[in-house]
């Protein structure tokens, strides 16, 4: 982990293919994102946006080129430790009605890789969980089973879980997909504030660019597995 203060993500001529697939899901990707930036990645279905996020996290390994997260090559085993400094909000988050973990427990599970053994959560972290939950307007549903919550509420629980980890890099895959108009703006504003207050980095993949486009420092447009255009806004 050499450049924790500057570089968040670096992709150098990255190609990724799924086993058995005839063609790469993403190809020839070159991207550098610094800490303190909010990046919006957009594009049509099948453009390779989710593959790009999973490659950045090291969940998918490039067949060509190199991906670095906080200065560490994602091929190295050390990437497991680096992921503890990151958060991820997946696209497929819906849990079935019989899932009995409470919203609070789901958020606390986000700390499982960070906390010491035995899973003891200090009081200040509990207060922080409550603060984030209130900001996202889910403070009153924390003790309800996650499976009984609406899609929008579940999505906010995952976003709260990501923020509670106090990450250096936060990846959000379609974080507005189940949210109403007001909630979209609250989430976008919360992410923006978090990035700038903590000198962190957020990578937001979204079809719906409206809530976040004015807050992003860099907008990346993807199509057919490649980056088609990049628009830098302000000092990136």
């Amino acid at each position: 982990m050499q450049s924790l203060r500057g570089e968040a993500i670096r992709l150098e001529d990255v190609w990724v293919a799924y086993a058995g697939s005839g063609r790469p899901a993403i190809r020839n990707i070159n991207l550098r994102v610094n800490l303190g930036n909010l990046v919006l990645i957009t594009g049509p279905n099948g453009a390779g946006k989710t593959t790009l996020i999973e490659t950045c996290l090291g969940l998918l390994k490039p067949i060509r080129g190199n991906a670095y997260l906080l200065g560490v090559n994602t091929r190295r085993r050390e990437i497991i430790k680096v992921r503890r400094l990151c958060s991820y909000v997946p696209q497929d988050f819906m849990k079935p009605p019989y899932e009995t973990y409470t919203a609070r427990r789901v958020i606390e599970l986000g700390l499982a890789s960070k906390e010491s053994v035995f899973g003891i959560i200090p009081n200040d972290i509990r207060d922080y969980i409550l603060r984030i939950a209130r900001t996202l307007r889910i403070g009153d549903i924390l003790d309800k089973p996650i499976g009984r919550l609406s899609g929008g509420q579940q999505q906010k629980v995952y976003i709260a879980r990501a923020l509670v980890r106090r990450p250096k890099v936060i990846f959000l895959d379609e974080p507005f997909s189940s949210l109403d108009r007001d909630s979209r703006h609250i989430v976008a504003k919360t992410i923006h504030e978090y990035v700038h207050e903590n000198e962190a980095c957020a990578v937001v993949v979204s079809h719906d660019v409206e809530p976040i486009k004015d807050l992003a420092d860099l907008v990346v447009y993807m199509d057919n597995g490649t980056i088609v255009s990049m628009e830098e806004i302000g000092d990136v």
Binding site: A19, L57, L59, I80, K81, V82, R83, R84, L85, C86, S87, Y88, P90, P96, Y98, E99, T100, Y101, R105, V106, E108, L109, G110, L111, A112, S113, K114, E115, V117, F118, G119, R165, F171
Partner: protein
């Protein structure tokens, strides 16, 4: 002697029940299936060499669990399944070959029953104490890593993305599976030991959907299957392993029927409410 066997059946049934739950949720059923047959091969080899069946089964199962656990982190899921099934065939071949090569004397002793169908006589006090130790160590592991294990059970991919070492927990689970099987095969025999890993969790999943309740129910059903199988085998003078497998299979079929009945009643109540 019977009390010792009864305690062993509760311990091994409960342990296999909870391990089976993790095996299913971690998606390593085929891996643990081949680990179970590694134990069988080790036990059969012990017959020929005149060594302790449990300890050679333990060496085989644990070594193989370690090797396949490490291999599985470096290959795709499909490759992992294929490799596991390849080893499953190999271990079965070794086991049968070893039984074939055993002397007539060995084939006439109680040792062979340990490999084939389990035996009440094979369960000794030291083995039960070791099994109890294993249950304590496993409980401590679960207690220590409760949150990480819960995070994997809740969403494996998210847990991995958040920096939980999923491969480490899978490897540890496989090692526990190997050790538990090595001790349990004295009770059930090598060919039926997998029943206690698979049937309790399969029955539980028919009846309960909540992950937390499944974790409680699976070891309870495992312990009930093993204990009642032991009692019936004693009363009827049947082979203990086969009787345990029979009881746990009856529980599995009953759970499946119960689920169909519950679903049918739910549909009927909903239809009545709609029509009224």
């Amino acid at each position: 002697m019977f009390e010792v066997a009864l305690l062993a059946s509760i311990l091994s049934g409960g342990l296999c029940g909870i391990l089976g739950y993790y095996v299913q949720r971690f998606n390593i059923v085929t891996l643990s299936f081949s680990v179970a047959h590694a134990a069988l091969a080790g036990a059969a080899l012990a017959l020929v060499l005149g060594l302790d069946v449990t300890y050679l089964a333990l060496v085989f199962a644990s070594s193989f669990a370690l090797v396949i656990g490490i291999i599985s982190t470096r290959v795709s899921t499909l490759e992992r399944e294929l490799i596991s099934m390849g080893f499953f065939s190999l271990f079965n071949a070794i086991a049968l070959l070893m039984i074939y090569m055993s002397t007539t004397y060995v084939l006439s002793t109680a040792s062979i029953s340990v490999v084939l169908w389990g035996s009440l006589l094979a369960i000794t006090k030291p083995k039960v104490i070791t099994l109890l130790g294993l249950v304590v160590i496993f409980s401590f592991y679960i207690f220590m890593f409760r949150s990480q294990i819960d995070a994997i059970l809740f969403d494996r991919k998210l847990a991995e993305a958040e920096g939980i070492d999923v491969d480490f927990h899978i490897l540890i689970t496989l090692l526990f599976v190997g050790t538990a099987i090595a001790f349990t095969l004295r009770l059930t025999g090598g060919f039926l030991v997998f029943t206690l890993l698979y049937n309790p969790v399969a029955s539980t999943m028919q009846l309960i959907r909540s992950a937390q309740r499944q974790q409680l129910m699976s070891p309870i059903l495992g312990a009930i299957s093993a204990m009642s199988g032991l009692v019936f085998s004693y009363i009827l003078d049947w082979p203990v392993g086969a009787t345990i497998a029979l009881i746990s299979s009856i529980i599995l079929i009953s759970s499946y029927i119960a689920r169909i009945v519950i679903n049918f009643r739910l549909v009927r109540i909903a239809s009545r409410e709609d029509s009224s």
